[in-house]
Subunit: 259 residues, 2 copies
């Protein structure tokens, strides 16, 4: 299995603190040493870093921990291979373009007997069930909405319909973003919190590091952090229910779409 980390904010925010704790699980405080990756949206553009080395040993991960890239939507992943060999093309997150936007996707879990029919518009490059699910998802969204991208509530409703058919094949904790918002779906384990004024001092559970967020934020800032297992020991994390899909916009959880 793997672990996921996502961030959705109302202003561009750096993820150095959360990523530092998360990356420790890539071979140090946990056994996810079969590669890692992170994607940051900056406007419509994406910075995409993947590495098949363990996150704790990776010079690229070291860069991310030192270089405060500011972004409103970030998805990161550390991998413990279950399907697909340890290779760069199997590292999450995956990136594809749909409707003139980049889409970023990462998955934690394992899908069995999952053989969707692909029409050819999106094909996996590597050999993971995860990239296959991502290609299928974009294909189905394109089939449903054609060349006109839907508004967020319609997209939310479409995903709420589509995701259970994939999740029926096994464990499907996943995150998806096109830079505008972040969707997170839980099969077995996802937690989130929203940091906002008055900002706390947060203490990482995986490394001896604390940050007083009130010193590095304005009262208007709002940051949602979504992760497989809580990253800090002194904040209140909310667990997702199994089967739950949440949409985060501007650092806030949105309401469930009306069916």
């Amino acid at each position: 299995m793997c672990q996921l980390l996502g961030m959705n904010c109302n202003v561009p925010t750096d993820i150095v603190f959360s990523f530092t704790g998360f990356a420790m699980r890539g071979g140090h405080t946990d056994t996810h040493h079969d590669g890692w990756g992170i994607a940051f949206f900056e406007g419509a553009g994406v910075r995409h870093f993947v590495d098949h080395q363990a996150a704790i040993a990776s010079p690229v991960a070291e860069l991310i921990k030192r270089y405060p890239i500011k972004s409103r939507n970030v998805i990161a992943h550390i991998r413990k291979a279950t399907q697909g060999q340890v290779a760069l093309e199997n590292c999450h997150p995956f990136v594809r373009e749909l409707w003139g936007r980049y889409w970023v996707f990462a998955h934690n879990g394992d899908l069995k007997e999952f053989h969707p029919v692909l029409t050819g518009s999106y094909r996996p490059v590597g050999c993971t069930d995860s990239e296959l699910a991502f290609c299928y998802l974009l294909q189905e969204l394109h089939a449903r909405f054609g060349d006109a991208p839907p508004a967020l509530p319609q997209l939310h409703a479409a995903l709420a319909e589509l995701l259970p058919s994939i999740a029926a094949h096994g464990t499907f904790n996943m995150m998806l973003s096109s830079g505008e918002a972040l969707f997170a779906h839980c099969s077995t384990s996802l937690h989130y919190l929203v940091r906002q004024h008055p900002f706390p001092t947060a203490k990482l559970s995986d490394e001896d590091l604390s940050v007083d967020f009130s010193q590095v934020t304005t009262p208007q800032d709002r940051v949602a952090v979504i992760v497989t297992q809580p990253l800090t020991t002194n904040e209140q994390w909310t667990a997702f229910a199994p089967g739950e899909l949440k949409l985060f916009v501007d650092g806030m959880v949105q309401d469930t779409p009306v069916a």
Copy 2:
């Protein structure tokens, strides 16, 4: 205008030496300071780094100069904006998937009155003529070959037919790779050389740096370097003719396809 750098080799090779000289042109020895990018194939996977900062000031470029990522196909670009604002989504190289492979593309030049009809399978995320040309090119390759990827000679012949129709709109120096080979097309300025046994000591023209390649290679290694303007002062670079398309495989120039 911009500058391009490509590398195609028969064994995974690091591009640190060539990139170090090339990156100096990103704001130091030349004025290409509106972003830069580089993509390395590793097997079927791609490491893709883009930055809208000048290459000489970019922490990510610093990482590339220090971290010897080994690859058989690399495409790099430093940008001086002519069309499209300075933004991450306008930085080359661009990456898309076709036939279950990633394709990497970078362009130097300026296209005028270029308004191809896009069917929706590939749409630009940014606002450059370059990304538009790339989307059009992949769309046309897919239209020509369907879901079955062609062999290299057929692909070479198809590009030899398609590229002049784009180049007719202006300057279209470009590089394209799907990790198997590297195509380079010249409108106005491209040069290449093949480094092989006996390897020389090469001296950069943009920085006071030399490398004795015989110390870091085996006699079987072969490396083609393709660049807008020659990178070294003591090697023989061959200029492309205007309108010329060259295919590099395993560090060697291939013959022109039979029409």
